[in-house]
């Protein structure tokens, strides 16, 4: 099947006409898989499979690299390979020494194949707990996607999978009712003590603390039947009969039984196509564009890529950020000696919130990445400072409304600050930022904005885009706001005192909602 293969620091080079799923093994352990044609590109006479980004930092040392046909298990290639300059055996492991492998989205994960039965037990327990909670909340959940596939095909978790998926088909048939039901489900689960993160109008992740202290997220995908079609977040839009869903059946997974749709084979075909019985460790969903458009249009838009940018920026876990006030907050403070309450939208690490709190202002920090402000929040608590931090999502109307309603009840005058927020969110987020500011500041307070208006070196690193100020001002006017001050300034480093002599790159605005 392979006429030749060689391995370099750039990737794996093969000569072949066939397109098969092939496993990559390092010292006999599977690291990932790829399709010989689909996942490679022409490089002269050969096809090149570039190393996935997630793997690169490990590729320094020696390993016996083998390529094995995933279905027939035939070894196609094996050689001792030197990568980078290292002399040690290459170990693809996490900090605790647990073996990692690439999942189908090319993320390095702890895959099921590297887990023993005792490691799988907590996952099965969590699945049962969340299924029971969903059932109690009034829907008929079942195992879905790769979890259902493994159960029906082999009665086991799929070795190259790393998480478990649950789903349900709503009794409603209108997208609005299906979303309202999903909101109710989230409330019910929170009331039952679960931690929940919402991803879209009908999908969320339930976080379960397992006995060994690790926190596992189980995805719960909502779906509904409408006009002979089943739509199931996040990949399915397929002709479907109601009898294939209810009454639910039972299926066996790792020796326990779990709920499944009435005819799980039909759902598997809708999820993975007619070839779902053939294992494919590098499976890529080929969701039709019309389904993607429908699911996007109906349900998505509350997490629009900001996590991708800012999640990376703030890194994992609670973070220590820069200390001391920004020049922006000092500028605001000089104009607002009387303010009682300050709300910093997009507060990041919370440095400006802490600075205001130290001056006796009731200061609130809002951010979408809660771990960014976690350390400041703890510090404020220890030091008894009037600083509070809350998670908020500008692209989710419910979050904006309830946050606005809460903060509007704080003592006035209330001032809202947003430094590089309007230029970091999308149009809906900007509209919601202004609405939030209007709710919070009311007639007595003001909104202070700083936005990027031209490129500066380093711009784009933090997901801040150049903003059309005129369009923003039109949005402000639409909401009944009025600009009291506008300053176009040069601001090279972002934090230094702005310089008014060079070409302007930022704009500062003071806005009132008092006509």
């Amino acid at each position: 099947m392979l006429r030749s293969a060689r391995v370099t620091d750039g990737g794996i080079f093969v000569r072949t006409e066939q397109d098969r799923a092939v496993d990559i093994l390092f010292d006999g352990r599977r690291i990932g898989s790829f399709w010989l044609q689909r996942d490679t590109r022409a490089a002269g006479e050969e096809r090149k499979y570039p190393w996935p980004d997630a793997l690169r930092r490990f590729l320094d040392g020696v390993t016996t690299l083998s390529l094995v046909d995933h279905v027939s298990e035939e070894e196609l290639f094996s050689a001792e390979v030197h990568l980078g300059t290292g002399e040690e055996r290459i170990r693809i492991e996490d900090a605790q020494g647990n073996p990692l492998g690439l999942d189908k989205s090319l993320r390095l994960m702890r895959l099921f194949e590297s887990r023993s039965a005792e490691h799988v037990k907590p996952l099965l327990d969590s699945m049962e707990a969340v299924l029971a909670a969903l059932e109690k909340a009034g829907v008929e959940p079942f195992i879905a996607y790769g979890t259902l596939l493994g159960a029906v095909r082999d009665g086991a978790l799929i070795g190259h999978d790393s998480d478990a998926d649950l789903g349900y088909v709503s009794a409603h048939d209108h997208p609005v009712d299906v979303m309202l039901e999903s909101f109710r489900l989230q409330r019910a689960l929170v009331e039952q003590g679960f931690a929940v993160t919402r991803y879209s109008g009908i999908a969320f992740k339930v976080l379960v603390e397992e006995s060994d202290g690790t926190r596992r997220g189980l995805d719960v995908f909502g779906g509904f039947l409408r006009d002979g079609m089943l739509y199931l977040m996040g990949e399915v839009g397929h002709p479907f009969e109601a009898e294939w869903v209810r009454p639910r059946s039972r299926t066996t997974l790792e020796g326990r039984t779990f709920p499944a749709p009435a005819v799980p084979e039909h759902l598997l075909e809708a999820m993975y196509g007619p070839t779902w019985r053939v294992p494919d460790p590098a499976y890529k969903f080929e969701t039709p564009q019309s389904t993607v458009r429908r699911l996007n249009g109906w349900f998505r838009g509350t997490r629009v890529g900001q996590e991708h940018v800012w999640g990376k920026f703030y890194g994992p876990g609670p973070q220590e950020g820069p200390q001391g006030p920004s020049s922006f907050v000092r500028w605001v403070r000089a104009r607002e000696p009387e303010m009682r309450t300050a709300v910093d939208v997009g507060c990041g690490y919370g440095r400006d919130v802490m600075w205001l709190a130290r001056q006796g202002v009731e200061a609130w920090g809002l951010d979408f990445i809660a771990r960014a402000f976690k350390r400041s929040a703890k510090r404020a608590e220890r030091q008894g400072l009037p600083a509070s931090f809350m998670w908020a999502n500008l692209t989710e109307l419910r979050s904006v409304m309830v946050t606005g309603a809460l903060l509007a009840r704080q003592p006035g005058p209330r001032v809202v600050l947003a430094r590089h927020v309007a230029d970091a969110t999308d149009a809906a987020g900007r509209a919601h930022l202004l609405r939030l500011a209007r709710m919070v500041a009311g007639r007595s307070g003001r909104l202070y904005l700083q936005v990027q208006t031209a490129r500066t070196p380093g711009e784009g690193e933090r997901g801040v885009k150049v903003l059309d100020v005129d369009a923003l001002l039109a949005q402000v006017a639409d909401l009944g706001g009025r600009v009291l001050e506008r300053h176009d300034l040069a601001d090279y480093e972002g934090d230094d005192a702005p310089d008014s002599s060079s070409a302007p790159t930022i704009c500062r605005l003071v806005i009132t909602w008092n006509p």
Partner: protein, 80 residues
């Protein structure tokens, strides 16, 4: 035989049709997006606006907090 001019117009029209379809697709998508907004708004009205009208201070504060907890991301775990 069609004149060159007629053919040219037809080709132009076909281009116009394509851009019209693109526009229509965008408009359909805009309409779909109302579903999420409508669901969010309905949820806010049912869960917040109506109960908030009772004007009992303590209950209002509790209600807002409760609703926020059900919308929020969970607190960050880990050290400190």
């Amino acid at each position: 035989m069609e004149s060159l001019r007629t053919i040219a117009r037809r080709v132009r029209d076909r281009g116009g049709l394509e851009s019209r379809i693109e526009e229509l697709e965008a408009e359909v998508q805009e309409c779909r997006q109302l579903n999420l907004r409508l669901a969010e708004l309905t949820d806010v009205v049912m869960e917040l606006l109506v109960p908030l009208a009772d004007r009992d201070e303590a209950r209002v504060a509790e209600l807002l907090q409760h609703y926020r907890d059900s919308v929020n991301d969970p607190p960050v775990p880990g050290p400190r």
